[in-house]
Subunit: 225 residues, 2 copies
Amino acid sequence: MPEFRYAQFCPLARASEILAERWTLLIARELACGPQRFSDLRRRLPGVSSSVLAARLARLEERGLVARREVPPPSPATLYEFTRKGERMLPVLRELMRFGLLFTEPMRPDDHLEPEWVPVALEAFARGGPTPERTIGIRVPDGDGEGDRDVTLLLRGGPAGTRVERLDGPADVTLRCEPILVLALTSGQLDPVALHEEGRIEVEGDAALLRDLPALLDVSDLMTV
Amino acid sequence: MPEFRYAQFCPLARASEILAERWTLLIARELACGPQRFSDLRRRLPGVSSSVLAARLARLEERGLVARREVPPPSPATLYEFTRKGERMLPVLRELMRFGLLFTEPMRPDDHLEPEWVPVALEAFARGGPTPERTIGIRVPDGDGEGDRDVTLLLRGGPAGTRVERLDGPADVTLRCEPILVLALTSGQLDPVALHEEGRIEVEGDAALLRDLPALLDVSDLMTV
DNA sequence: CTGCATCCGCTTCGATACTG
DNA sequence: CAGTATCGAAGCGGATGCAG
């Protein structure tokens, strides 16, 4: 299995050899959602071929960025997960997400959208400076087979910036909506009060508090110029 | 000219479509050194074919990330440079450089090393927290045709972190050495006093002050675990 | 079922040659 | 100097096969 190399003594070139191949960064994003099986990854990455996925995982493992863990019976499986070294990719993913906001809209006809991407993305967009002291809960339906488990997160504003916690809990206001609406709401493109009145989102608490969403995140800044 | 697309509504996927192709990130690094001509880029990126370089530049221009500027006679040329939008790539380059440090050593036999990469890399490694209040000058010889112009920079420690200025000026101590030694010196792998005694580096001022280099930068942290 | 390996047709890449 | 043209090689997506 040959591997491409740039003849350059430069950390950027080394990073590009490892990460800048087709699918590799998206595999990393999936692992940032937690350990995944081979078949999970195939389902969550429509279009990837099994041979390429196997090759990428093997390469990441060989580099020490990803480890496999065998889950014993009754439902045996191989889980792929980040090593400590692999977690070093997370800041890279963060900046790529922030950069990519410039090109995210419009949605394209066949675009897939995995609910679990929402918390990972919002972590990347969390504002660093002081933000309004609000706790906003977000739930997006994870409708795999109508099991209707929600992906949940808490956005917690504060003087040291916004923190994202991937769990459910008490909040000043809680929003439940399709993942496709999260970007428009966090950027301020769509008004949560209007959406609530139209019945396109579910809100527990005062929907007007959701107008603070853009203040908690860098989304609107990152989507312009 | 077809373009690859991931069928995913996700900023990371969009960013990967644009940046995670062969050579694109390295082209961006060159533009981070300043405007460049087509032939500059070819020389600084050994191995890139003219057709791929042209295709990448065309794509970056079409995305609004890079602009061309015509320089009028007497020495007419086309310069490629970042747009404001293109400068949004810089944080991505920064994190990739920081990640890539894990895989930078060892140098490979045919590795090229452009002196102008040094200031760009050190900007990426500048420590954010309080650092010793020292000003350290670094000069690396840019021996293109023995013109012996140096690439110069100042590393300025302070309570708000280390700043990197790409210019010459007064410093507590100034180091002049081959670019290949900069990584070993800034990570603390090699001792500047010993190197100075061996005559492998030139120093103006007290060579012992160069032992503060690792404290000004994140290099040693980023190269481990 | 899961976790791949193999084959095939298509796209992309690298090297060289050539042009305004 | 700034690219385009060409062509063999490598990489990729999709389908299929197969062992545990």
